[in-house]
Subunit: 303 residues, 2 copies
């Protein structure tokens, strides 16, 4: 057992997966949970998510050795302010937000003396959301980034041990680098996927029905991440503005270069570019971060 | 049996899948195959791909009732010119190219009197290529677009029956619409995926190793289609220039609108956009064109 009492604030995909992963290996003694919506709390009680589901934030965090903020990034400050007076001295406060500078700015000022604030970010997810979307293996062999920013070393090491007990690998990173890396591997891919799906949906000359029917030709891969939780992603882009816009600039620059190659009929440029990108795919397969089965192993009939 | 003798020209993912799908249901009596590369022909013989593997194009197509051009779009003209004198009167000539106007322009002029040219395009594939990448179920429940362009009705209907026997649904489409639809559901998604992977690979401040390790946060979905055959995709973009550039224009327009919303902090715009795109994903699941399993059902441990 890593922590005696853990409080999960926000009961969506990440928190519910954390709960099932904790139960799988006895990582915590007792887990309380809180969600703002009464409906979510009701669902959590029905499916046995958390040992105790609390109707009030203060009750959830009182006595907790680890408090996990698993709410959208834009809601972190309000929650931090409300729980601050109720945190136990010596407790660790962490979060699972996809952006770190903004969370540190929002939460940091509210952290009481004697509470260890250790921001973290599990790099895992699915396109589903809500309290019923979680599962115990979500973090297995994935990476959780820890952004200590000067926090107490014992508290940081314990949070790392906790995430490893949930199945994840951990790596420490400074905050600016975290936000840039995530812009590259997560935020911009999501934005681009949303954009591509929006374009297809919006095109008068090609019907939605055609887009759906013929999606197996490539388009459907984009729709998975474009089905992710809109509130979470709105907050990510509002709070990781700088890195997002930097990477977006690089992306459009490259895209324009390829567009020019197409317009000019520069086949060598296209061929070289398309060859180079295969190596990254191989790296991901070899690192165990994806399957080599055709079409992600969707099943042969799904082709 | 739909055709007595079928010739497959080019023995990559599509042709090899066609062969196994033909064998699964006895769709053809005898299948000959030809590939330009001696190594590919050798592999085909070793794995039993085709009833007869021919070392010369003319031998493969002679006596065939159906000749399938399954070579990159840029190679269609050379092949068509070479086989033309050897085609059997009354035979059907078809192709599986991802672009249709350009194939019609390249192949059409070489089609002898008495041979029926019926362009087609199976909208299915995987990120793997070559003679060993094919499998019998690739076309099951996928769509093959038929672009008759005035071809003999009996020949068209027979080719439709053939594709249906391979497991596909078929739909007729005119050539310009075909090339536009494919730009939306396939060509631009591939170009964007290639670009995103290229940007990540090229970014000095984020290492390739980081990109690979943390790819489960979204990026890895893009890498599948960016690992597709570079020759095939080079030819697609060189030959579907007009539709590609039109859709690319729409894409960058939308992307710039989202970028502006991010810069201006317009959360409502982002939220509404991200909500709308979920509906398309639902449509694709309901149409049986993708799985609703989290992460494409990559397997729970792969998260």
């Amino acid at each position: 057992m890593i922590y005696q009492r853990v409080a999960l604030i926000g009961l969506g995909l990440i928190a519910s997966s954390m709960f099932w992963a904790m139960k799988r290996r006895g990582v915590a003694g007792h887990v309380t949970g809180y969600a703002r919506s009464a409906e979510t709390r009701e669902t959590a009680r029905r499916i046995g998510l958390c040992d105790t589901v609390c109707d009030r934030l203060a009750d959830a965090v009182r006595d907790a050795d680890l408090v996990v903020l698993a709410v959208p990034v834009g809601a972190m400050e309000v929650v931090a302010r409300e729980i601050a007076p109720h945190l136990k001295p010596g407790a660790t406060l962490t979060d699972v937000g996809s952006v770190k500078q903004s969370v540190i700015d929002a939460v940091g000022p509210h952290v009481p003396e004697g509470v260890h604030f250790v921001p973290a970010h599990p790099m895992a997810g699915t396109e589903h959301s809500g309290p019923e979307s979680g599962f115990a293996t979500l973090f297995d062999n994935r990476w959780t980034l820890i952004v200590p920013e000067g926090a107490d070393e014992d508290a940081v090491a314990r949070l790392e041990a906790y995430w490893q007990a949930l199945g994840a690998n951990t790596e420490r990173m400074d905050v600016a680098h975290h936000d840039l890396v995530c812009a590259v591997v997560s935020h911009i891919p999501h934005l681009i996927a949303y954009t591509m799906v929006g374009v297809a949906d919006d095109l008068g000359r090609v019907s939605d029905q055609e887009v759906v029917k013929f999606s197996a030709a490539g388009f459907r891969d984009f729709t998975r991440i474009a089905a992710s939780d809109p509130t979470m992603w709105r907050d990510v882009f509002l709070t990781n503005k700088e890195a997002t816009i930097e990477i977006l600039g690089r992306f459009t620059e490259e895209l324009f270069a390829l567009q020019r190659a197409i317009r000019q009929g520069d086949g060598d440029h296209l061929f070289d570019y398309f060859t180079r990108t295969r190596a990254i795919r191989r790296g991901i397969i070899e690192a165990g971060q994806d399957t080599d089965e055709p079409n992600f192993g969707r099943g042969k009939a799904a082709g």
